[in-house]
Symmetry: C3
Subunit: 160 residues, 3 copies
């Protein structure tokens, strides 16, 4: 990295790109955490549990055992949650390195906003559910943003 | 490493809040990694595998095929592992941003200690298992700590 | 946010250890993201879907319903993907803290290169699949590298 770029980078942290990264990362992580509450909501309203100790309040023996079952709505939320993990973990890591690689503020904001928007749309598309290719496209947009940031990181810091 | 760079690194790693974050993050990540070993232990002792190549040492054909099955103990550990991923990933990201947002050392330590303690209790509650609401409460405590840190991050850095 | 503390992190991008961390982390996260595309490839070629809306293009009713099924190849890629999450998330967190703990460049490179190599071998071992202990050993190598970095982090920063 050239030292001119370095001088700008030293001011980066109390700077706007890192603050934008912090803001959008916190938003998508909170959104991901929301999936746990939605799963709990559907498990309770659909009475569909997986751990025997979770059904103890419904009585003992067979009367409780029937609630140890899978429910399509619960499984759908869980798939959305896992998809979040698979996509938000790369954003967390690549996004941090990207924010430190000295992008233009406007370019960085564009990446972060599109990613966060795409993941929120993806969640709605999964849970409603919207007809395809709604979910597929929202997934692909978030994926493409992460690839774009990864390319910038590797171009800037490559050290093998 | 050049000593000039060394000095810069020492500055960040000298920060007590950041050192506390580094310590507790490493502890919860090691705890999460332990789940892999516990899964392997139960797969081997219960003889319950999922990949055909993993049962090759038991012979060929039907004699090995019977070990391709699910086991309640294995599945329980795997659920605990996934729950760790769902909750420790947000802590990893939000906690880093929180540590950089300039919290009081005592407040930060309180957050990190409670989170790590809650996740350790959660693991015992899941694996023993403890009757509910033991597992549910320990999960909720870790969740609330992460929300509290996220609130501090957004209050400090918000840049949309 | 106090700008004095925040400024320190930005200087890291010029540090060779941190650049190596950024490079190898981006590589393993891209490798992990590739698993999504491989899953999609197998779902489409094997016609094995999990969401009813994904099979709408095959017609309505029973003709589409038969594609809502599990396929051994799809499930194998998904297990590899989950194993990536379980192992690359600890690397992401512990590796960052390790890079900040002031290791020798040559030692750090050794850790990062072995980890990345082990995870790439693990993916091939899982998808081909190679006979055991191919997959098990590649998993263990990556695991051991992360433990070694965690030990260095705790030795350097421990603050309980």
């Amino acid at each position: 990295m050239r030292s001119g770029e370095m001088a700008k980078l030293t001011q980066l942290i109390d700077n706007e790109v890192f603050r934008a990264y912090a803001t959008y990362t916190t938003i998508v992580l909170l959104k991901m955490m929301l999936m746990s509450l939605i799963t709990a909501y559907f498990r309770i309203t659909r009475k569909a549990f997986v751990n025997p100790e979770d059904t103890a309040s419904f009585g003992k023996g067979e009367s409780a055992k029937k609630y140890l079952r899978t429910d399509p709505d619960v499984e759908r939320v869980r798939r959305g949650h896992l998809n979040d993990l698979e996509n938000i973990v790369p954003f967390l890591g690549v996004g941090l390195l990207y924010a430190l690689s000295g992008p233009e503020l406007s370019t960085a904001l564009l990446h972060f906003r599109i990613f966060a928007g795409a993941r929120i749309v993806h969640t709605f598309a999964y849970l409603i559910p919207l007809p395809q290719p709604g979910r597929g496209l929202s997934w692909a947009v978030g994926y493409a943003v992460t690839i774009s940031m990864a390319y910038k990181v590797l171009k800037t810091v490559l050290y093998l």
